[in-house]
């Protein structure tokens, strides 16, 4: 199946690579089908591209690469809905917002994306954690460009 993407150009995707978000994503409730596109091997970044809206893609970040103690309890209802199990553990991603500089990007800690990569379903959940910010700066202000180049935070 061919997908048009403003960011990636034309993509040729197998039906089995499509990720279904049965509830859509808040702000885009009609968008239910996406493709998850890795950034580069070993990169903590990836992209979620809508299959129907060429302009709609999200930059995703693996939280555990950056945030030391990021944790939450997934509700049974969500685990069931996403058919998660010991064999199908959840994949967790944060949606990133880049306004100007990439190094100033923020991530939404309060509403991670939870995906079942085997069953190809996902949803954005809102955590019961008021201490988690919707706009958490991913790279601390004090991190120098040299540190970034070396790959440490």
């Amino acid at each position: 199946m061919k997908i048009k993407s403003t960011r990636f150009g034309q993509l040729d995707v197998e039906e089995g690579q499509i990720l279904h978000f049965p509830n859509g994503i808040p702000g885009f409730l009609d968008e239910k089908d996406f493709v998850h596109i890795p950034h580069e091997v070993g990169s903590p970044f990836s992209f979620l591209q809508s299959t129907t809206e060429a302009n709609l893609s999200f930059l995703l970040v693996e939280p555990f690469a950056f945030i030391n103690d990021y944790e939450f309890v997934l509700e049974d209802k969500v685990a069931k809905e996403l058919e998660l199990s010991q064999e199908n553990p959840p994949q967790v991603f944060l949606i990133a917002t880049v306004k100007e500089k990439v190094t100033d990007m923020t991530v939404n800690l309060l509403a991670p994306l939870i995906m079942n990569g085997v069953k190809r379903i996902g949803r954005q959940v809102i955590l019961d954690k008021p201490e988690y910010s919707i706009r958490h700066k991913l790279i601390p202000e004090a991190t120098s460009p040299t540190e970034i180049a070396k790959g440490g935070l």
Binding site: P26, G27, H39, F66, V102, L110, Q124, G152, L153
Partner: protein, 77 residues
């Protein structure tokens, strides 16, 4: 949509297991308690709106040409 008036101390029962009680009114703030099963998600309306708004921001076109410089970035353990 149902609209109704309640007094302080009065309750609204939704279905079999959700009870909303008005506990107090102070100026334009109303304090309520919600008794609901654990699996029922309850959040303030503005949190959902804030997440939808942030998703829209996140989807706005941005220049990611420098993302490659960050691909090796990791928290130091």
């Amino acid at each position: 949509m149902l609209a109704l008036t309640r007094k302080v101390g009065e309750r609204i029962v939704i279905g079999d297991d959700i009870v909303v009680t008005i506990v107090g009114v102070k100026g334009d703030s109303i304090r309520i308690t919600v008794d609901a099963p654990k699996e029922v998600k309850i959040y303030r309306g503005e949190i959902y709106d804030a997440i939808a708004a942030e998703n829209k921001q996140a989807a706005a076109p941005s220049d990611l040409s420098e993302l490659d410089n960050l691909k090796g970035l990791r928290l130091k353990k």
